[in-house]
């Protein structure tokens, strides 16, 4: 026998690795459906399977822990069991020799502490307190609960207008979301257990690209109630649209000259063409929403006056205040916030960056947006400086890739120290090289590397380090503001102002379009309820029946982007929609969770809300 063998994976080892990778896939897509206690028990059992068996805490402790957790799940535990679970997990954590044991225990301790109420509910009721069954995972994952399997089936059937009408039952911004939705639904797509999640947004875009004219649904009889919506972004317009359909007379107050909020003043046209946005807004206003642009509540009209004049007020003012770096030189000419730049472009005022070198500070989607916008404004060179690593950037991977593909340079692990200016004008930015370090609250923190600062010569600095909410005026008129956000109850109402509701970015902090839509939808329902009505938004579209299909592994079709030959001045849409053949194949990948699995119980869908 040789003394040293060349390591080759055994067949069993390869299989184990395969199972691990499927496990990973499976866990990722089913996160919404699990019982916290059952999940903890399953985790402990899996961790126990990884034990080498040398040490007491891991070998025996994890097995006993699994049994204790099963007792909770079987309704045979009492509060003493819970205490023993916690003590056992603690002890394993403190005394295990290696990470196999102590990391498993750390997760268990975290779970027992974080899910105390769930554990207690199981013990007291032999039942699970969590009410999210996530029968149809994509729908459960969509903040606005859009009937995704329904519109995919309609798209597959070539009934594009019906597909869009179905989307708009829950989310009136079908075109916009087809272009720019963050698509949290895809995270939970059960197809991910088989091969890859569906390209849900791609199919939505395909439907909106190919639909015939879609009329808004009929509106309810006039209720005699009037609602003022403050802020014409996605939350405000969604609320206004549904409130109008419910028969309420609705007026939108918008401080900018045009409607759309961050959809217009935050998202560049090459991602969301203005014609698309305008046509969607026209659809939203069609049921008779009145609009007052260029009117700022707090300046042109007071909240008190609105409350006097209207039966309810919805505050959806968004998060448009820019965060600043707070470093020397920030006042120099040539330093500009991302908010400022995107807002002026939204109003069709495009600055000329011809031959300029631009440094963008930040790593979010907005940073990518302004970087790519700078190229289109003629910039010769764009550098994106970010203090963490590229993989820590909050921007979506596709956005980062596109920025790089278009020629932006990424300078990761560089934190701004000061802005260099000559004669009051920016001439560079001084950056301190960083190294990535400890993880706190789940995020890797950078710290100064033992290296000298570098200066990147540039003519312009674009600051894209997040937005905040302009709450000062609201706070002064009695709106409760906490940690820079408006405090609204779960039903969007404000505690101390009867008839005033709030939602969207101004409540959640800067978030996504679909979350703003969901907020607007909830507000419409709750304002209608506040008036004492129960108007239903409903749609009578027959969904094509789900047919049983053979299981064929098939990869996902992505939408590509094209890099225009000459970026300067070119704000045309860069993302390519799916080809018809791709859309047909992609829609056929849908597992129809509205019919197969728990979805079939209770009909697979909510017909109205």
């Amino acid at each position: 026998m040789s003394k040293l063998e060349v390591y080759e994976k055994s067949k069993a080892q390869s299989l184990v690795e395969g199972i691990y990778s499927e496990l990973e896939q499976r866990i990722q897509v089913s996160a919404l459906a699990s019982c916290p206690v059952e999940l903890t028990a399953a985790f402990v059992k899996m961790a126990a399977a990884q034990s080498c068996g040398k040490c007491t805490p891991c070998r025996i402790g994890l097995a006993q822990l699994a049994k204790l957790l099963d007792k909770v799940l079987d309704g045979q535990a009492d509060l003493g069991t819970l205490a023993l679970i916690e003590e056992t997990a603690q002890s394993i954590y403190y005394s295990a020799d290696c990470a196999v044991g102590y990391e498993a225990a750390a997760v268990t301790v975290k779970a027992v502490k974080g899910f105390t109420d769930d554990f207690r509910y199981h013990i007291e009721h032999n039942d699970c307190a969590s009410d999210s069954f996530a029968a149809v995972p994509c729908v459960a994952g969509c903040p606005a609960s859009v009937d995704i399997p329904g519109y995919i089936a309609l798209t597959a059937a070539g009934r594009y207008a019906d597909a869009v009408r179905l989307v708009r039952k829950d989310n009136p911004f079908a075109i916009v979301c087809g272009m720019i939705c963050e698509h949290p639904c895809e995270l939970y797509c059960r197809r991910g257990m088989v091969d890859d999640p569906l390209n849900i947004r791609g199919l939505k875009r395909f439907a909106t690209d190919h639909m015939q004219n879609v009329e808004p649904p009929t509106k309810a009889a006039a209720s005699g109630k009037r609602v003022a919506v403050v802020g014409g972004g996605p939350a405000g317009l969604t609320a206004a649209h549904y409130l109008a359909l419910m028969g309420h007379s609705t007026v939108v107050y918008e401080q900018c000259s045009k409607l759309g909020g961050m959809l217009r003043y935050g998202i560049p046209a090459y991602r969301l063409p203005r014609e698309s946005l305008d046509s969607e807004i026209a659809y939203l206003l069609a049921p008779g929403v009145e609009v007052k642009t260029g009117t700022s509540v707090g300046k042109d009209i007071t909240l008190a006056a609105l409350r006097q004049e209207f039966d309810a007020v919805y505050l959806s003012i968004g998060a448009h205040a820019e965060n600043t770096l707070g470093i020397d030189g920030e006042a120099a000419e040539g330093v500009m916030s991302a908010v400022q730049l995107l807002r002026s472009i939204g109003d069709d005022e495009k600055p000329d960056f011809t031959a300029k070198t631009v440094c963008v500070v930040g790593g979010g989607n907005v940073a990518m947006d302004v970087a790519r916008t700078a190229l289109r404004l003629g910039a010769a060179k764009v550098v994106i400086a970010y203090r963490r690593r590229r993989l820590d950037m909050t921007a979506q991977d596709a956005e980062i890739e596109a920025a790089v593909a278009e020629g932006c340079e990424l300078l990761e692990l560089h934190a701004p120290l000061s802005i260099e200016a000559k004669g009051g004008k920016v001439c560079g930015i001084k950056l301190q090289p960083q190294m990535i370090s400890v993880i706190e609250a789940g995020r890797a923190k950078p710290k100064n590397a033992a290296a000298a600062p570098v200066i990147v010569a540039c003519d312009l600095v674009l600051v894209a380090i997040g937005q905040s909410i302009d709450t000062a005026a609201l706070a002064s008129v009695g709106v409760t503001v906490e940690r820079g956000r408006i405090s609204a109850a779960d039903n969007s109402s404000l505690a101390n102002l009867d008839g005033v509701f709030a939602g969207g970015d101004c409540v959640t902090g800067p978030a996504t379009a679909i979350r703003a839509v969901a907020a607007g939808k909830a507000a419409a329902r709750n304002i209608d309820d506040f008036f004492g009505f129960d108007h239903k938004i409903t749609l009578d579209v027959e969904i094509p029946a789900a047919l049983f299909r053979s299981r064929v592994y098939c990869a996902r079709s992505n939408m590509g982007e094209h890099v225009p030959d000459n970026l300067c001045g070119n704000f045309d849409l860069v993302e390519n929609g799916l080809l018809e053949e791709e859309a047909v194949q992609e829609s056929s990948r849908c597992l129809r969770c509205d019919h197969f699995g728990l979805g079939v119980f209770r009909g697979g869908r909510e017909l109205s809300w």
Binding site: S34, C35, E38, L73, D74, G75, Y121, H125, N126, D127, C128, S130, F133, A545, L547, F548, S550, R551, H595, V600, F601, R602
Partner: protein, 599 residues
Amino acid sequence: MVKQDTSFLTGSTDASSSGAQVNLTINGIAVSAYRNMTILAAANKAGIKIPTLCFFWNLNDIGSCRVCAVEVDGFEQLVSACNNLVQDGMVIQTNSAKARQARRLNVELLLSQHDVQCSSCVRGGNCELRQLANDLNIIDVRFEKQTESFDWPEDYPLIREASKCIKCLRCIQICDNIQASHIWDLRNRATRSSVGVRDATPIKSSLCAVCGQCINHCPVGALRERDDTDRVLAAINDPEKITVVQVAPSVRTSWYEDFGLTFDAAKPQRLVAALRQVGFNYIFDTDFSADLTIMEEGSELLARVGAADKHPWPMFTSCCPGWVRWLKGHHPEMIDNLSTAKSPQQMFGAVTKSYYADVLGVDPKRIFSVSIMPCLAKKHECAIPNMNDACGDPDVDIALTVREMNRLIRSTFIDVPGLVDEEFDSPLGIGTGAGEIFGATGGVMEAALRSAYFLATGSNPDPDAFADVRGLQGWKEATFDLNGAPVRVAIASGLGNAEKLIAAIKAGEVHYDFVEIMACPGGCIAGGGQPIPGKLNFRTTRSNVLYGLDQQNQYRFSHENPSITKVYSEYFGAPLSERSHHLLHTNHRLWSMPNEDEQ
């Protein structure tokens, strides 16, 4: 009125017989079907049996048991026949090796979690799981037994034994979709998923109407009524007790099914003979007090019309205790719309322990009053604390379901086919055709209209003049002319239909004067205490029995029942008299549903 789907009520199995035709092959037989038909429906139409378990026509097609899995050429995996549509050119094998193996294994798995107590289970004789396991020739279950533990109040009329539940979820479906009660829900998760009361509410604190429809749709013995037969036998065997039993109209439409008989072979008189053999002293007909109800409720309606602004409208019937419970639970603001008339069961009990005790010349406390009801909620109703108006004891001591009565008869080893028919005892054994039809949806309304017409005009209408209110639609409406005054009536059966009707009343979309509601879909003939139906169209068969009896009865108007005339002249005086109020009417606010306690 809203658009109605009557397929559940009629038990239709071809609701999807429309649209394009497709051709397929099942077990080598060419079958043509409609494109929107399931494989099961297509096979059913072609006379090919595919076994099912969780499936129930027009109610539950969730495909959870995977017993109806069939093999389709070109598909690696099996397809559940109950909820997958036919496709043109499909070649299906219902008994391929793969299908047989999976079907058998899935039933073995269900048996591993089922507390198999067939010999001491109320459903031992008609359990769908037992039949299926037997048909599949399962002799050995290869899996370890693991049944769910549970804790359930034994004194509640509805009993759930979780250890027998096979999680078909039919109970949730009927409670949600047909009965609008939403008592049952999926509870717990993953491998411990089960059925329980929504939000883990104790059943006694829930708004359960006790309609019992979940029992009738349970394939196994996980749901049943509280068995009160021992208490009845104890009274029969107690020499101090005089046992009086009343038999509800709809009992005669169904009781014989459990004995494998037909109506022609088992008329009501056969039931009287059987109950006599069981040992009851007096056997009476609830038809009598149905007629009494018409007298009181009809007079109340006319009295309310006379003081229209003092009463909320429409007036609701009050004879169905499941409906009364549901209304109090779900729409407590409409309690005063209910007629104050007691139900026929309770009127009967009150008359028995007052008037009839006088007739017999006995202390009413010696009378043990039993009712045979198609109903579960009657167990709740007779136990309402203030239903003791005659002598202070409960007016009705025990309400038995038809199933319990049949178990009582069977346990006495009576040869039902060999019995000689007997008549009901007199005077409380005489009922009219109007009383008979109480057991079918629309029957109370029709009976009331026949007598109201007489009261309004002084002459009898054609007894079939109001036949428009018959039939198995969930929500019916009609307007009749009573001596120049139009009376707008509506009838709903099934609490889901009641919910729709009430929503329409509240929205001002419909306006009625008098509304009959029966909690169970189709009325008492399909009550939650009836024998578990063997056939889907049982509602039609059973209601035909009642309308046939009505046609044959020499009396077709409640006001012409000689016993009614007698009891009014000898005891009550007139409808709505002081004595009537005391014994025959009730205040629905004297007891509370859990939601009312909170107010």
